[in-house]
Every structure is written in structure tokens, then in C-alpha cells.
């Protein structure tokens, strides 16, 4: 896709995605707080799951997209790919921070510790570190092709580390809480709430990334002739 087409797409998609995000998150949280009963073992503390799990999934999805666009940038030199990397990283950092914060709240409530060296917690920390590193690297090296290359390479390094950490879930013994006890009906409502909130978070992430892409595009291409043509269309 060429930059003018991307500008048109972002203009149309952002309000739609934001509306969808508000509606889906509202429905998902209503299911989580209203319809789904409290967990037998953990009580209402369990309701943190309805925000922690979707935040982690969306952070992982955004990191996958970051790696994809980094590969495209490194292999083809496509301008839009660098802009996507720049647009994805801050929203990814937001979801990774949310996953880390909610994970800590869960640990404090369930185990009375703010931090445990669990592989899942380490994966959240790795995601946050590399999202922030990509964002800062892009700003530290200013607006240059070299900054794009370094940010893309950093994203790939983070992916290798993240795979190692996720694989280590099987290797590192984790702090065990007792297994959850729930009926089929509870499990159904749990999955429904998780699915709807995840869809809402994805819609929000899409809106924020496209809005930032619009900003990045206009900042980087402000001297191009097509910007003036597009404006006067």
C-alpha cells in the first residue's frame, strides 16, 4: 500500500474501530462483572483475568506485527513498513505495561507478593522492554533510515528472546496456585467474556496504531508533493 492510500484508510477506519472498541469492551466487562460468577477458589479476585489475559494476548499480537513489519523493512526497504514499526511500538508498550501491572495485582492478591519470577511475568517484561526500546531507539537516532534499521533489528532480537522466555514456561518451575474449580457454564461465560474483551482491545489497538500511523506519515512525508495534492483533493 502506498502512503496516500494508507492515509485514506486510516481516516475511515479509526472512528469505526474506536466505536467497536467501546461497545465490545463494555459488553465484555458486563459479562465479566455481571453474568460470570466469581471463581470458587479465588472469589472476585479472579475478575482481573478479564483484563490481564486479553492485554497479554494483544501485546503478543502487536509484537508479532512489529516483527512482521521489521522483516518487511529489512528485506525490502519499504517506507510504510518503518512507519508501521514506529506506530505499533508505543501501543504495544501500553498493553505490555497493562499485562505486567494486572499480573502483579493478581500475584499480590493471590500470593501476597508483587513480583514472582514466573516465565509468563518475564514474557510480559520482555515485551515491555523491547516495545519501549524500539520507541526510544527511533527517537534517539532521529528521523533517519539508520534509525529504522536499528529499530527493526531490535524487534527481531526481542522476538528471539521472547521465544526463549515463552519456551522456558515448560522449563522453569512456577509458583503454583491451586487449580481453578468451575462448571461448564462458568467456563463458557469465562471464554465468552475473554473473547469479547480481546476483540475490544484489538479494535482499540487498531484505532490507536492507525491514528499514530497517520501522524507518523504526515510528519515524515510533509515535504512530499503528494501531501499537498491530497490536501486539496
Amino acid at each position: 500500500m502506498r502512503p496516500p492510500a494508507a492515509l485514506r484508510v486510516t481516516r475511515a477506519a479509526v472512528p469505526l474501530l474506536l466505536s467497536a472498541a467501546v461497545a465490545l469492551c463494555g459488553v465484555g466487562l458486563a459479562i465479566g462483572f455481571g453474568l460470570a460468577p466469581a471463581d470458587i477458589g479465588r472469589g472476585s479476585l479472579f475478575r482481573i483475568v478479564y483484563i490481564h489475559v486479553p492485554a497479554t494476548w494483544v501485546a503478543l499480537l502487536l509484537y508479532s506485527l512489529l516483527v512482521f513489519w521489521s522483516c518487511v523493512r529489512l528485506l525490502t526497504g519499504m517506507r510504510l513498513a518503518s512507519m508501521m514499526v514506529e506506530a505499533l511500538a508505543p501501543t504495544g508498550a501500553l498493553f505490555a505495561l497493562l499485562a505486567l501491572w494486572t499480573g502483579s495485582l493478581w500475584s499480590k492478591g493471590a500470593l501476597d507478593i508483587w513480583w514472582d519470577w514466573d516465565a509468563r511475568r518475564l514474557a510480559d517484561l520482555t515485551l515491555l522492554t523491547f516495545f519501549v526500546a524500539c520507541t526510544l531507539m527511533r527517537q534517539a537516532l532521529d528521523d533517519s533510515p539508520r534509525a529504522d534499521m536499528v529499530a527493526a533489528a531490535l524487534a527481531l532480537l526481542g522476538a528471539a528472546l521472547l521465544l526463549f522466555v515463552l519456551y522456558s514456561v515448560e522449563l522453569i518451575p512456577r509458583v503454583q496456585t491451586h487449580p481453578p474449580e468451575r462448571s461448564d457454564a462458568m467456563a463458557g461465560r469465562l471464554i465468552a467474556a475473554l473473547a469479547v474483551v480481546t476483540a475490544g482491545f484489538m479494535a482499540y489497538a487498531g484505532a490507536a496504531v492507525l491514528k499514530r500511523l497517520r501522524c507518523v506519515l504526515l510528519e515524515r512525508e510533509r515535504a512530499s508533493a503528494w501531501i499537498e495534492q491530497w490536501r486539496t483533493q
Binding site: 472476585s44 479476585l45 501500553l94 497493562l98 495485582l105 492478591g109 490507536a208 491514528k211 490536501r231
Partner: protein
């Protein structure tokens, strides 16, 4: 919901909401600043 549990649960949801609102506000300000810099009026 017990008091300490409510603190953890609402702490998670309020943090999520605040982060999203802060990001959207920052993006709106950034976009407005770019438009002003380019000398654009609302189309």
C-alpha cells in the same frame, strides 16, 4: 467484594482505562500539532 480484593480488581480496570484515555489524548494533541504545523484547517 472484600475491600482488598476490590482494590486489586478496580486497580486493574482503572489503570487500563487511564492508559487508553492518556494514549488517545496524546495522539489527538500530536495530530493537532501536526495540522497546525502544516497550516491545515479542518476539511
Amino acid at each position: 467484594m472484600r475491600g482488598d480484593v476490590a482494590f486489586f480488581v478496580w486497580g486493574a480496570y482503572i489503570m487500563g482505562g487511564l492508559l487508553c484515555v492518556a494514549e488517545l489524548a496524546a495522539l489527538a494533541l500530536r495530530y493537532r500539532s501536526i495540522r497546525q504545523h502544516l497550516g491545515w484547517r479542518r476539511r
